[in-house]
Structure formats: structure tokens, C-alpha cells
């Protein structure tokens, strides 16, 4: 409510949150305990102190007494989450972020915290989807452990996991090609690659993969290919309920299963052949 009356203050508060991390480590006036200087976050430790009362305020008022102090990252997180609602209309742009900021009662200048190409918004969305997928898979696993659900065969599990993840794109499908191209910008590739690989690793983990040899890589490479190609097919799919996409997915997963069966067969055939040759060599030498 205060923000509506004093719009400039909101921008200030947003930027105050921006500047706050350095203030975070100042001593509170009443705290006489030993100083804690964190030049850089010590590895493995979490900053423990939290200013309880008003932090050094640029507004000259009591500060945000009603709100808990939040870090810059949490604020960005909230803005981006709010902005997602406006993506179908505005695309992955600063406009969507500005609209999102407005719904939080912040000034549209908050969009200035982010890149104009919407990179952070897209990465945030992908990260949120991955988190949702992990939770879904974790809950599924709990049900199986409790005996309330059947353990799925691998191909069905992979298929369902990829489908669940791709379905999260449906509300944004119109603008997703734009997002994909932004994710491929050199600047974003490390982040988008990390998000992709950790998602694929998660799916395999919950599928029960326990490989500790080169299979670890083969499986993830295959699943990544399946995911990426299915995603591309989905972009161009106009069938009702994306049934063409799901059928494509089913076929690709089946192909992968066949390939792995063939590989196993080739290996055992190879081993048998080697054994035969060794036997022949021993016979001949005798």
C-alpha cells in the first residue's frame, strides 16, 4: 500500500535490497557481540546473522518493518516468478518482467535488474520446471517405496518423466522457440547446459540407474538426445493434445531400449567369439 503512494520509494527499496548484501554484514547498533566480517562466503557455511529490526534505511523511515529482510536473489526470484504469468502475452522480455514487478507492488524500473533479452527469466523458468520435475519423481518414488504404486519398467518411466517435463512448456509453447534461441546464446550456454544435464541426471537417478562405468555417459547422452528431439518436435506439433509428440517420444524411447538390447547382445556374441578363438588357439598349440 505504501508503494502505491510513494512509487519512487519502491524503486529505492528495490535498489536498497540490491545494495543490502553489503549492509547485511554491518553490526547492528545494539549488538555488542564480536564482529563478523564475511569477505566472501566461507565454503560450506551459511551466513547466520539476520538483522531483526530495520536495516540501514535509505528512505529515512523505519524501513520495511513488516517484511522480513530478503536477499537480492530472493527478490529477483519473486519478480521472475511473477513475470511468468505475462510471458504468453509479452514473450520472454523486459515487458513481462516489468508487468511481474508491478503485480508485486514494485516499480517497473525493477526490470532494469535483468538483461533485456529475458535470459534470467528463461533460466529461472527452466530451473523451476526442473525443481518441479524432481519433486514429482521424488513423490512417485515414495509411493513405490510405500508399496502404494507399482514400479514402472524403465521405458515407461523415462517416457512419463520426459512427457511430464515437456508438458510444463505447454502454457508457454508459443514463445518457447524464442526461449530456446536465447538459451543457446554463448553467454547462457554454461547455465542452460548445467540445467539440462542435472535434469537428465535426475531422471536417470529416479529411474534407478546405478551404473558406475561408461554406461553412465551413454545413458545420459541417449536420454538427452531423446529429450531435445522431442522438444523440437513439440514446437512444430499442431495435433490435438500434442499426441504426435508423445507418439514420437514413445518411438524414440523404444529405439533406445532396442539399441541397448542389441548392444548387450553384440557384447555377449563378441565375448563368445573370443572364447571360441582362445579355445581354438589352445587346441592348435596342443
Amino acid at each position: 500500500v505504501r508503494c502505491q503512494q510513494y512509487p519512487p520509494l519502491c524503486a529505492l527499496q528495490a535498489s536498497a535490497a540490491l545494495r543490502a548484501p553489503s549492509d547485511e554484514h554491518k553490526k547492528e547498533p545494539w549488538a555488542s557481540s564480536s564482529q563478523q566480517h564475511f569477505d566472501s562466503p566461507p565454503a560450506g557455511h551459511q551466513p547466520e546473522q539476520k538483522p531483526q529490526g530495520p536495516h540501514p534505511s535509505y528512505t529515512g523511515q523505519g524501513g520495511q518493518e513488516s517484511e522480513d529482510y530478503e536477499s537480492e536473489e530472493q527478490l529477483q526470484h519473486r519478480i521472475l516468478t511473477a513475470a511468468l504469468e505475462f510471458v504468453p502475452e509479452h514473450g520472454w522480455t523486459a515487458e513481462a518482467i516489468a508487468e511481474g514487478a508491478k503485480t508485486l507492488g514494485l516499480s517497473v524500473a525493477a526490470a532494469g535488474l535483468f538483461h533485456s533479452d529475458g535470459s534470467e527469466l528463461i533460466l529461472h523458468f527452466v530451473s523451476e520446471c526442473n525443481t518441479k520435475l524432481s519433486e514429482l519423481l521424488r513423490n512417485e518414488q515414495k509411493l513405490v517405496q510405500l508399496g502404494e504404486a507399482e514400479k514402472k519398467p524403465i521405458d515407461e518411466f523415462l517416457r512419463d518423466a520426459v512427457e511430464a517435463r515437456l508438458r510444463m512448456l505447454i502454457p508457454y509453447i508459443e514463445k518457447w522457440p524464442q526461449a530456446l534461441s536465447v538459451l543457446l546464446l554463448p553467454r547462457n550456454i554454461p547455465s542452460s547446459l548445467t540445467l539440462l544435464t542435472s535434469m537428465i541426471d535426475d531422471i536417470w537417478h529416479y529411474a534407478g540407474d546405478q551404473s558406475t562405468d561408461f554406461n553412465w555417459y551413454t545413458r545420459r547422452a541417449v536420454l538427452t538426445a531423446i529429450y531435445n528431439t522431442t522438444e523440437l518436435v513439440m514446437m512444430q506439433d499442431s495435433s490435438p493434445g500434442f499426441e504426435d509428440t508423445w507418439r514420437f517420444l514413445e518411438n524414440r524411447v523404444a529405439d533406445a531400449m532396442t539399441m541397448s538390447n542389441t548392444a548387450t547382445q553384440v557384447q555377449s556374441t563378441g565375448e563368445a567369439v573370443v572364447q571360441g578363438l582362445m579355445g581354438a588357439a589352445v587346441t592348435v598349440s596342443n
Binding site: G44, K50, E73, D201, T212, W216
Partner: protein
């Protein structure tokens, strides 16, 4: 003392139960690679010297390495660590080193064992230091495993010395070369 929970930046990766994931990742990956390589080395040695008088000695050491590998396989799955990409390479290189050193004779094989086990013991000691510096309580189980394995590798080293490893022709050259290779293997397996 703040009543609020400690703030963690949203983007930080949530570690499994608050462990230092990058450090543990490296440790388990390189140890797994090491035990895998050691297995292959002994396999190579057995292929050449299996029927000789040192066969049983090598076989016994090999069996212990197999147990080590099994344990690290379990740890790898438990901590969700990625194995090193170079595993197929260590597969071949290890076997070639074992077989090659065995072709130099029983003493050659023992010299190889001494060199490798010395490298591994030193490497395990470094890891024990690292983990103790981090948090001995949190990593108690891992520390126990590594300490036990280090002791067993040290035994292998002593066994190798007992079997006249030092009498190998060009012993110090051989030993230095092998240890250099081990250092390179450790460096690479930690990272890729």
C-alpha cells in the same frame, strides 16, 4: 542470534545433507578410477604371471582391490557421483601396465606394485587430510573407508618390497616413470 533461518542464495545448489559436494565428488571419482585401474593392473599381471610362484600373492592383492572397487561403486551411487570419462582408457592402460611390468619378470611386476601402491597411499593420505580439514564428523564414514584402504594399499606396497621389487633392473627409472603416470592419472580423473 537471529530468529530467522539462515539465508541461502536461491541459486546455490542444495548439497546432499550439507556436504561439500564438489570436494566429495572429486574424491570419490578419482578413488573409483584408481581402484578400477588397480584392478586392471593386477589383471594384467595375473594374465602373465598367474601360473608362476608369485601368482597366489598377486591374486590375493587383486582380490582386495576387487573389494575396494566394489565399495567405491557403492559410494559412487550413494553420493550420485559421475564416474570419470577416462574409464575405458584406464581399462586398457592399466592392463597394459600390469602385463608389461609382468613381462619384465616377477621382480618387474613387484616393482610396478610398489610404485603404484606408494602413489596411492600418498594420495589417500592427502584425501584424509582434506576431509579432516573439512569436517571429520560429517565425513566419518568416508574417512573410515579411505583409512582402511590406505592401510591395505600400504600392505601391498610392503608385500611388493618383500618380493624383491628393488632388485629389478632399472628399478628407480621404472618406479619414477610409473609414479609420474599415476600422478597424471589422478590429476585427470579428478577433473574429467
Amino acid at each position: 542470534p537471529g530468529a530467522g533461518a539462515a539465508l541461502r542464495p536461491c541459486s546455490s545448489r542444495v548439497a546432499q545433507d550439507g556436504i561439500n559436494k564438489p570436494v566429495i565428488d572429486r574424491i570419490i571419482r578419482v578413488d573409483h578410477a584408481g581402484e578400477y585401474g588397480a584392478n586392471r593392473i593386477y589383471a594384467g599381471q595375473m594374465a602373465v604371471l598367474g601360473r608362476s610362484s608369485v601368482g597366489p600373492v598377486i591374486q590375493q592383492m587383486w582380490n582386495q582391490e576387487k573389494n575396494h572397487l566394489k565399495r567405491f561403486n557403492e559410494l559412487m551411487v550413494a553420493y550420485r557421483v559421475r564416474p570419470t570419462v577416462l574409464l575405458p582408457f584406464w581399462n586398457v592402460a592399466g592392463f597394459v601396465l600390469g602385463a608389461g611390468s609382468a613381462l619384465l619378470g616377477k621382480k618387474g611386476a613387484m616393482a610396478c606394485t610398489v610404485a603404484v601402491e606408494e602413489s596411492i597411499s600418498e594420495h589417500y593420505n592427502n584425501q584424509i587430510r582434506t576431509l579432516i580439514e573439512e569436517d571429520p564428523e560429517k565425513y566419518k564414514e568416508l574417512l573410515q573407508v579411505i583409512k582402511q584402504f590406505r592401510d591395505e594399499e600400504q600392505e601391498h606396497h610392503d608385500t611388493g618390497l618383500e618380493h624383491d621389487a628393488e632388485a629389478t633392473p632399472a628399478y628407480s627409472v621404472l618406479k619414477t616413470a610409473i609414479q609420474l603416470g599415476c600422478k597424471a592419472a589422478i590429476f585427470l580423473s579428478e577433473r574429467i
